[in-house]
Symmetry: C2
Subunit: 191 residues, 2 copies
């Protein structure tokens, strides 16, 4: 999606360790008008998939997932990163490694909100090594629901998460796919 690639080149910053900082429109400050254009594109890509639910993970996936869910007219569920004292015991759980933060989190979703028969579109802001996405797919499987696909804002295609998950047979649509980036700020996108 050219509009997103231009936004990344204009506003993104490369930090050491192949970290792409896009916190002025996606991760910390959110540009809702721009995000809504991404949501429109996810809707275009998956409108024939019979989506009944959007699944994302707190916190930075929630904004774009909510706007996408509004376009589909279906609920959005966000997986939480640790067990909250008032979430109840009936939980699906998976482990997710965050390489940025150097921790492994349990992610949880209430059994009330993912059900057998649900056709789930997973939305997230980033795909790199794929740990979060694999965790979310595991939650959907535990519920006996179906992952119809994933909609990712930015994929670091030079890392292997996208390949692994596509090789599992999951449809993954990434709106920007980064082929390479370096500490000097040079970003190249996949053709």
């Amino acid at each position: 999606m050219r509009l997103l690639e231009e936004k990344i080149l204009k506003d993104g910053k490369c930090l050491p360790g192949e970290v792409l900082k896009v916190d002025n429109f996606l991760n910390h400050q959110i540009d809702p008008v721009f995000m809504d254009k991404l949501a429109k594109e996810f809707y275009r890509l998956y409108k024939k998939s019979g989506v009944t639910k959007i699944l994302t993970i707190e916190a930075s996936g929630i904004a774009v997932a909510t706007l996408t869910a509004l376009r589909f007219g279906v609920p959005v569920v966000f997986a939480k990163k640790s067990k909250s004292s008032n979430i109840g015991d009936g939980l699906y759980t998976a482990k997710v490694a965050s390489y940025t933060h150097g921790v492994v989190n349990d992610i949880v979703v209430s059994k009330d909100f993912l059900c057998k028969g649900d056709k789930v579109l997973i939305i997230d802001d980033f795909l790199a090594r794929g740990s979060a996405l694999m965790g979310l797919i595991a939650l959907v499987e535990q519920a006996g629901a179906e992952t119809v696909g994933a909609g990712i804002v930015i994929e670091k295609a030079f890392q292997d998460g996208g390949k692994i998950i596509r090789d599992m047979g999951v449809r993954v649509e990434s709106l920007a796919r980064i082929a390479s980036m370096d500490d000097n700020g040079t970003i190249a996108f996949c053709k």
Copy 2:
């Protein structure tokens, strides 16, 4: 807002300790079409206030804040609950107690995203003792910006946060104000 009061009576659950569980449309699963009606009401209430930025706190404030920001056509910034390794050093910080979870968190916002001259509308899902809202107001003050008001989805009016913050001279608009609730599931709203 009668629509919201009806939704709370239909879908909310009272748990011991005056916890109101509304995780099927607000806190865990989000009903985006319904949330967008709340966003429309926040816009109606504050459209003449010259809002330049929406501020909320992760995670469950993000959905309704994003939809509200879309209506205003301004950015939304979400305060983060602890220092992330790639957020940078230039931060405004405040302390927020969570009585539900029994912890005190540092909340942070990058200095890049709250600026002198900003007219900030704070949006959050709940107001009870007011700790989160006071923390967010403190972040706005640190930036030299102005809090034009707060938009709250559900206020527990039987706790003192709303009164304290209104007494500080801050405009607080809550879409549902709960006068009392008990463990038997009886909820009464303020007239």
